[in-house]
């Protein structure tokens, strides 16, 4: 399906299933950027490390790890250490996101100024090649 999209005209953002199954089945070199989302727990970090290895092996573009729901720099460091050498963007644990999730609305609509939303704006800028407009905490 990805191959049928005119890559010069459309930006495709695909949300894959949890785990690495879809990533292992994705044709090689089909995406420009693979964003791996990890919580700062051993379980989540383990899956992220496996996903990063598969993405690199299958040449799925630039790999960026989002350290999600972090509560401080310790959390971000824990993810960064385990994913050695990979770009890491920290997104803070944010009650505004939880509230939006409960109500089934986008955090961007509910709380556009929330810290987590700001971090994700930074991620989008980082990927789209406009560093500096947002302020991603990149390690």
């Amino acid at each position: 399906m990805l191959g049928s999209v005119p890559a010069d005209e459309v930006i495709v953002v695909a949300d894959l299933e949890a785990g690495i199954g879809t990533l292992t089945r994705l044709e090689e070199a089909r995406v420009d950027v693979t964003v791996i989302v990890a919580e700062p727990t051993p379980r989540s970090i383990d899956v992220a490390a496996r996903a990063a290895a598969v993405a690199a092996e299958r040449r799925q573009g630039r790999v960026i790890v989002v350290a999600n729901k972090v509560t401080g720099d310790d959390d971000r460091q824990r993810v960064a250490r385990a994913l050695g050498g990979t770009e890491v963007v920290a997104v803070p644990l944010d009650a505004a996101v939880e509230e939006a999730d409960r109500d089934g609305v986008s955090p961007l609509d509910r709380s556009p100024g929330a810290p987590a939303v700001a971090a994700l704006e930074g991620l989008a800028d980082l990927i789209a090649g406009h560093p500096g407009r947002g302020r991603p905490d990149v390690g």
Partner: protein, 263 residues
């Protein structure tokens, strides 16, 4: 329910809803009560070891556990020197509270590498001595495996639901399991990460189903999760453990023979 007095429960739900956390604790509490418990995980990236309190082990069930199956039958079957009990003795890991844990492996590359191990696992689960083992299963998040019959070993399927729109959406789909060809005898709703009675009521009313038990959001369990500690080790007497204890009691009450055994 079967008259064996042994329970067969599977936990399903959206990713992140709390399935593995609840399933591992559920298995350990059964084990703590002196029952023989087999915890099984059909996720190729299993989360159950963390909530059982054992280290992650990537080794799959070895290929020599199976041999080619008969024409027209499954592609691989357990090797002649193995039966389900022997396979569990060899490859089932011993966890706290005496629980045995059986997974088919831990994915590093393509899932095809685990094919033989998956056959060994499936045959073991389906031919298990149902008078000996309580079975507690954890499935990957989402609807795919449950809808393809991966929980068919279970008599009770617990749909774990957070009070979020996404989790409720997945749960609605999963509740249709009761009308599927794999329908278990009971499909129950377990409210997860609730912050008060309102949350459990909301889940029940949105799903139009009774909530079998409500398991609270727990900061100590969350903190344990961050350092890799199982819920029962992070907060042995906390509200989370108590709530899962209530769930154990309610599931056992669905089994008259198990209830008689306890009295």
């Amino acid at each position: 329910m079967s008259g064996s007095g042994r329970v067969r429960v599977a936990f399903v739900g959206k990713g992140g809803a709390g399935k593995s956390t609840i399933a591992g604790t559920f298995a350990r509490l059964l084990g703590r009560a002196g029952r023989s418990v087999l915890a099984i995980d059909s996720d190729p990236l299993p989360g159950l070891p963390y909530s059982l309190g054992v280290a992650v082990d990537d080794r799959p069930i070895p290929d020599d556990a199976v041999t080619e199956g008969p024409p027209g039958g499954p592609r691989w079957v357990l090797a002649p020197h193995l039966d389900p009990e022997a396979l569990i003795r060899r490859h089932g890991r011993v966890c706290p509270d005496g629980v045995r844990y059986l997974q088919f492996g831990n994915l590093r590359g393509h899932v095809a590498a685990l094919q033989k191990a998956q056959h060994a696992w499936s045959q073991t689960v389906s031919e298990l001595d149902r008078h000996r083992w309580d079975v507690v299963g954890d499935l990957p998040g989402g609807t795919r495996q449950p809808m393809f019959g991966w929980a068919k070993y279970a008599e009770v399927v617990c749909v774990v639901v957070e009070p979020t729109a996404k989790s409720l959406h997945t749960a609605r789909r999963l509740l249709t399991l009761s009308k599927s060809r794999w329908a278990p005898q009971t499909v129950a709703v377990v409210a997860s990460k609730v912050r008060g009675p309102d949350d459990a009521e909301l889940i029940g009313s949105r799903l139009g189903a009774e909530v079998l038990a409500a398991v609270p959001h727990s900061d100590p369990v969350l903190a344990g999760d961050r350092r890799g500690a199982a819920p029962l080790d992070a907060d042995p007497e906390g509200d989370f453990a108590k709530a899962v204890g209530v769930l154990v009691e309610r599931v056992l009450s669905l089994y008259p023979a198990a209830a008689k055994e306890r009295s």
